[in-house]
């Protein structure tokens, strides 16, 4: 054991504020990676105390016990037991106990104590618990547990000071505890015994349970009601999508105008040549048409993060469990799938919390059908071009269409999940067993931080991948130059034009022209790039107004309504970005699932676009 550095592992129930405490102690000195060979996230951080001692803190996945039901929980057990080859056994365990909800934490503490490692119990959220009338004899509790008990308030500055002081004291003593090598998994009888022991200890310490307001229970009765609960959920989701469209329009107009002005300025102040073309037509028009969707993405994420923080999301999972169960998904799949509305990648990674492997695979397979924020730019562009900005029964028609597109994605996901269930047959058991944490007001700081992360990620993509693709696309669509005496627009003679024409043969039956076919290619790398690519293709098609006026008015005048609708339908199922496929490969540890996914998504997208195109033609003729 190193004298200069000690390894501390944080163990606690889900939602006990463990990660907040970890953040409080380590600040920004964190490293997030995966445990080797598995896809469980490993969060490590450092702290140097006033006495100069260095601590390595490990934030272990939340768990109710050391008997795992998920991959994450198995990691917690294995680290605590020192079974993981890559991870030395911790010197000390900090058991984070939620003071507003003590009995289960205390039971876990008794189970963890049996490991034979030095342990400190951190009573977290004591501020909240005390407000609700909690009290406990901390010294007695410490004596009963045979471990120091400290109070922490993870969300307050200095809220972890007591813990750090104890860590210093503990590691300056020479500990005589030896890890218990005889550990075995507790039986049902053992679990009951630890409950009885926990209850006895709480009584001995004069524990007064924090009161839960009747109001909370009433709120739950209403929000979990089979009819009113679903109604509220539906209205809420509907409101979110309306807001995404209507609140974002002003900032989007501003960004649009700014990008157009910048393009004009470059055009006016540079001599004609390849560089001016690259800057104005390639980079500014391309990247600008993606950045314009930042306001919508931020609004969508603000809602998702606020719902997550408030404790409502698991309730939505409860409400939808029945529907999802009927197609072979777990209600637990709701949270990964909702995250997939922002981006399929975190969504697919969040499926790790689903205990059943089959459920998890099914969830991964349908996650890309959730309309991710990268598809929003495409939808927004096409809706603005083809759907009139009209009032329909008090609702914005464009917002209604957007809602319908999201809905189509969800319906497609249910259909695919149902098909998967039919294919694999059998009726394996599904576990739900989901905790519904107490409601709380979302913390503004958390929200702001989360939004900042997303915005940075999105802009990073716009700055990196998208910029690079725009340059490549610009090159492909500029060279080779048209032959002397050519009559068509220059792009028609370029590599991109040739490629687009070749693809257009396959895509003509679903109403796509060669410009769309060109744009679909970079769209594979990241969906939102398709919009920028269209911007580039049209700006180079000799249409001088394409850059100064909005792209949407150009395509509105050049495409038929049927083509616009077919492209919308295509993007409901659109083959996902390469990054998603890479994550599926990593998470399933096989090429099989990403391959199946690619094929079935292409197939569905083609079918949906074909049906939409033909129907739209038929209706507009007949």
């Amino acid at each position: 054991m190193s004298a200069a550095e000690s390894r501390i592992a944080l163990i606690g129930l889900p939602n006990c504020g463990k990660t907040a405490l970890f953040n409080r102690v380590t600040g920004s000195r964190q490293k997030v990676a995966n445990y080797p060979g598995v896809t469980v996230e490993r969060k490590e951080g450092y702290h140097r105390s006033a006495s100069g001692r260095r601590y390595r803190l490990l934030d272990l996945p939340g768990t109710y016990s050391l008997t795992p039901t998920t991959l994450d929980e198995a990691i917690t057990r294995d680290v605590a037991l020192g079974r993981l080859a890559s991870e030395p056994r911790p010197d000390t365990i900090v058991l984070v106990a939620d003071a507003t909800h003590l009995p289960l934490s205390l039971r876990l503490a008794l189970e963890v104590k049996r490991l034979g490692l030095p342990m400190i119990v951190a009573l977290n959220m004591t501020d909240l618990a005390r407000k609700r009338g909690y009290s406990i004899d901390r010294e007695r509790l410490s004596k009963e547990l045979g471990a120091p008990v400290v109070e922490t308030i993870a969300v307050a500055r200095g809220g972890a000071d007591a813990l750090i002081r104890y860590l210093d004291e503990l590691s300056s003593e020479t500990t005589t505890l030896t890890p218990n090598s005889e550990w075995r998994e507790p039986s049902a009888e053992d679990v009951q015994q630890t409950h009885i022991e926990a209850t006895r200890i709480l009584a001995a310490c004069g524990y007064r349970e924090p009161a839960r307001s009747d109001f909370m229970t009433s709120v739950d009765r209403f929000l979990l009601h089979p009819f009113f609960g679903l109604l509220v959920l539906g209205v809420l989701l509907f409101f979110v999508f309306q807001a995404v469209f209507s609140w974002a329009s002003l900032p989007m107009d501003l960004i649009d105008a700014g990008v157009a002005a910048l393009g004009e300025w470059v055009r006016g102040s540079m001599p004609d040549g390849p560089l001016r073309s690259l800057l104005a037509d390639g980079i500014i028009a391309g990247v600008g048409s993606v950045i314009v969707f930042l306001p919508q993405i931020i609004i969508l994420f603000a809602f998702i993060l606020a719902l997550e923080d408030s404790g409502y999301l698991p309730r939505a999972a409860y409400l939808l469990d029945r529907v999802m169960g009927s197609v072979g998904l777990s209600g637990r799949a709701f949270i990964p799938l909702l995250s997939s509305f922002a981006c399929a990648i975190p969504g697919i990674m969040a499926t790790r919390t689903i205990p059943s492997v089959r459920d998890r695979l099914a969830t991964i397979m349908v996650a890309p059908l959730m309309t991710c924020s990268a598809r929003l730019p495409v939808y927004a562009l096409l809706i603005a071009a083809f759907i009139p900005d009209r009032d329909l029964g008090g609702f914005n028609l464009q917002g209604l269409v957007l809602f319908a597109l999201y809905f189509a994605g969800v319906a497609g996901a249910l259909l695919v999940a149902w098909t998967l269930k039919k294919f694999r047959g059998g009726n394996d058991t599904h576990l739900l067993m989901l905790e519904l944490p107490d409601y709380q007001w979302p913390r503004l700081g958390n929200l702001a931080y989360g939004l900042w992360e997303r915005a940075r990620l999105f802009l990073g993509r716009a700055g990196g991948i998208i910029l690079a693709l725009m340059v490549v696309l610009w090159f492909l669509s500029t060279y080779p130059a048209p032959p002397v005496g050519a009559t068509g627009a220059p792009i028609e003679y370029s590599f991109a034009g040739q490629l687009g024409r070749a693809l257009a043969v396959v895509l003509a039956p679903i109403g796509f022209n060669w410009q769309i076919s060109v744009a679909l290619i970079p769209g594979l790398a990241a969906r939102e790039v398709a919009v920028g690519a269209l911007g580039t293709v049209y700006a180079l098609s000799g249409d001088e107004t394409a850059v100064s006026t909005a792209l949407s008015s150009v395509i509105a005048s050049q495409w038929s309504l049927a083509t616009g609708l077919a492209l919308l339908a295509w993007y409901v199922f659109a083959p996902q970005c390469l990054a998603t496929l890479a994550v599926v490969k990593r998470e399933t540890n096989s090429w099989r699932y990403p391959l199946i996914m690619t094929v079935y998504l292409f197939g569905l997208a083609y079918l949906a676009a074909f049906a939409t195109y033909r129907l739209a033609l038929w209706f507009s003729v007949g």
Partner: protein
């Protein structure tokens, strides 16, 4: 465990707002242990907060200061009195 001669009531038989006391959780498999771990041990007080239509699946149950959502087959494992 003595058989009372009738089918014992389970969590999934509760009405919204109704309280009961846990009698036992049958068997010793992973599901049973997890139910015990999250607080459904003999003597624990439970209250049904809400249940979904149709067939009370899933249910939301208050136990030991926490609320859990359980599917019907999970709720039926917890015998109450």
């Amino acid at each position: 465990m003595g058989d009372v001669g009738q089918t014992p009531r389970t969590l999934s038989g509760l009405k919204a707002g109704e309280s009961a006391v846990v009698e036992r959780v049958d068997a010793d498999d992973l599901l049973a242990r997890r139910l015990l771990e999250i607080g459904f041990y003999p003597g624990a007080k439970v209250e049904l907060v809400a249940s979904m239509w149709p067939a009370d699946d899933p249910v939301a149950i208050r136990v030991g200061g926490a609320t859990f959502a359980l599917r019907r087959q999970e709720a039926e494992r917890v015998k109450i009195r």
